[in-house]
């Protein structure tokens, strides 16, 4: 975990692609990596198509199963195309698992965690990237080290604490432990290290701005593209979070994932209704993915550790 982290801002590649003609040729030689000079042959496309099919088929089959009856999907010849029961299944799932409330809860949890993560991680990322203070290196190492602590290690006391504070079974018990993320701090730091020149900060200081003012009018605008990406990654993650919400929340006040888990775990369930629930919980994110897929891909690649 202590490998050196080379910085990559998400837009770096697109910038270097538009290199000015007069720029030194040496930079171009470092632009492209392994195999880039070779065109992909038919084998590559076939392999990608196979993997792509494997990636998408379970999602498609969720739709198929959600639109059929239990008997049809458990038939010895399972159906491969959608049927006509989609709306009745969605309605049944909606009633059996209180999905309306679950969706509302999930939105509250995901939105508040995403907003808080963006705010706190951008501030911390800026401090670690551009401000000088005692203990910076050690503190950053601590941040990265916390990435390796699984939630399992602290759920028992967390559960007791939450019930002590009066947050037992409440959304607060899911929201507050996740208000910040080590990944977010690291991600914003990596971005700002490269994207925010010291000259800009100096210029702000010369103009008499205090630190908060500099954050507001210089750092935030520069950080906006990375904040977009971090926001989407955080949203996807909190929307899908399962372990702690499943332990912390109860049947009357679930998030979507918890409701889905209970729908399948509580009694002998109708599989088509369960799949309708799965479809409802997945669909919003798939839409986000279709619209922002490119940015999310770029975000994951830029957040990757390159040593």
């Amino acid at each position: 975990m202590t490998t050196t982290h080379t910085v990559t801002a998400p837009d770096r590649r697109s910038v270097s692609k538009n290199d000015v003609p007069g720029a030194p040729a040496r930079r171009n030689r470092f632009k492209q990596g392994a195999g880039r000079q070779h065109h992909a042959g038919p084998f590559a496309y076939i392999a990608l198509a196979v993997v792509g099919f494997g990636s998408l088929f379970p999602l498609y089959w969720t739709l198929v199963a959600a639109s059929r009856s239990q008997e049809e999907i458990l038939d010895s010849t399972p159906p491969l195309i959608p049927g006509g029961n989609l709306f009745s299944n969605l309605e049944a799932a909606w009633e059996q698992a209180q999905l309306g409330k679950a969706i509302w809860n999930t939105l509250i949890v995901s939105a508040s965690i995403t907003a808080a993560t963006l705010f706190f991680c951008t501030l911390a990322g800026y401090a670690f990237a551009k401000l000088r203070f005692k203990g910076r290196g050690a503190l950053m190492t601590m941040v990265i080290a916390t990435l390796t602590v699984p939630p399992q290690l602290s759920v028992v006391p967390l559960f007791m604490m939450m019930s002590d504070i009066g947050w037992g079974g409440q959304l607060e018990s899911v929201i507050f432990p996740t208000l910040v993320s080590a990944f977010g701090v690291f991600f914003m730091r990596q971005y700002l290290l490269e994207a925010l020149p010291y000259e800009l900060i100096e210029a702000g200081k010369v103009d008499g701005a205090n630190n908060l003012r500099i954050v507001w009018s210089i750092v935030l605008p520069v950080a906006r593209p990375a904040m977009m990406v971090l926001g989407m990654l955080t949203f996807v993650q909190t929307w899908n979070d399962f372990f702690w919400p499943y332990l912390a929340l109860n049947q009357d006040n679930p998030t979507l994932q918890v409701a889905l888990g209970q729908l399948s775990a509580s009694y002998v369930p109708d599989q088509s209704i369960v799949m309708a629930g799965a479809l409802i919980s997945t669909l919003p994110l798939l839409i986000v993915f279709v619209i922002f897929g490119k940015q999310i891909v770029g975000g994951i690649m830029s957040g990757a550790v390159k040593g």
Binding site: S154, V156, I296
Partner: protein, 332 residues
């Protein structure tokens, strides 16, 4: 902070760098002091929320877990803690189910991580060619990442069903009998590994791709001048350059596999899911912890399991560090 009255500047024994400012009107001195305070304190103020939240909801509970593990605490009465010393630890260490969970977690971890990272490496290599619609392919292979554990586990539960499962239906075409995936000791672990592999391979492939694109192409030119084949280039240029990234993904995947919970819980659902299969054949450590705390309602042993997981994690970290040292030495 020291006062900045003009007298101090005049009589102070130390050379006072602030002397010029001290002469100017008091208001300006106050402002400059504020400035310096702002400069000194802001970084700490900006990073404080992270450490406060992590301290309160991460580190403190982590340590407190150790304390709870030495007590008898029941879910039905959270306020009452009774000291029992090492009893919880000896209870779980003498429980054969605990060791089943340890070995299950380990086995599922290996059979999900190894193929996953190998496929991801190959995929990244393919994606690194000049491709038509490269963004399209990247987005497609990342799509499973947008799916929740719960949805993924539930749809794969149908795929792996004995009767009318998609997979057994496909097997029937090649004349094979249906397999009772969830009941078998190996098949159930394979089924869970498949869910993990499905969700995370694309993600890891993108991380490898990013690392590959950072490899300077000079290295490849030099290698091809020396007559290295593409396979030799992949083995002798790409893989060594990716070594830190590969180590990183191994660490992350290992930690991830320690946490497997939703996949085994929902593979069969119901009572079987909550105890990791009728014979605990796919019970992971997280399921074991959940079962103790949230089904049997004994939080003491559950906390002891958490500390056993911490010990395992440290062990893995130590092994990883050793492996890293040895491979670095042999590479040099």
């Amino acid at each position: 902070m020291a006062t900045s009255t003009p007298t101090r500047g005049a009589h102070g024994s130390k050379p006072d760098r602030r002397a010029p400012k001290a002469i100017s009107p008091g208001r300006q001195a106050w402002r400059s002091r504020l400035w310096r305070f702002d400069d000194k304190a802001s970084p700490y103020a900006y990073i404080a929320p992270f450490f406060l939240v992590f301290g309160a909801f991460g580190l403190y509970p982590l340590i407190y877990t150790g304390w709870i593990a030495l007590h008898k605490v029941e879910m039905t009465n959270l306020d009452q803690m009774e000291w029992v010393g090492w009893e919880n630890f000896s209870t779980i260490l003498q429980d054969s189910e605990f060791w089943t969970a340890v070995s299950n977690t380990f086995i599922i971890g290996v059979i999900s991580t190894v193929p996953q990272l190998l496929v991801a490496l190959g995929l990244a290599h393919l994606l690194n060619y000049k491709l038509r619609a490269s963004t399209f392919w990247r987005t497609i292979i990342l799509t499973p990442y947008a799916t929740s554990v719960a949805s993924a586990a539930l749809v794969f539960a149908l795929v792996f069903r004995v009767d009318g499962g998609l997979l057994n239906w496909l097997l029937s075409f090649v004349g094979l009998d249906g397999i009772d995936w969830a009941s078998g000791h190996w098949t159930s672990k394979i089924a869970i590994a498949v869910i993990v592999i499905w969700r995370w391979t694309g993600y890891n492939a993108l991380i490898y791709l990013a690392a590959m694109q950072a490899v300077p192409s000079d290295l490849y030119e030099a290698a091809s001048i020396d007559g290295a084949s593409r396979w030799q280039q992949f083995r002798n240029v790409t893989i060594p350059a990716l070594r830190p990234t590969i180590l990183f993904t191994i660490v992350i995947s290992t930690i991830g596999s320690m946490q497997l919970f939703g996949e085994p819980l929902l593979l069969e659902g119901g009572a079987n899911g909550a105890q990791g299969g009728s014979e605990h054949q796919y019970e992971t450590l997280s399921i074991y912890l959940y079962n103790y705390g949230w089904n049997l309602l004994h939080l003491g042993p559950a906390a002891a399991v958490a500390w056993a997981m911490l010990a395992l994690l440290l062990l893995i970290a130590a092994i990883n560090w050793l492996v890293g040292r040895v491979t670095r030495k042999s590479a040099a």
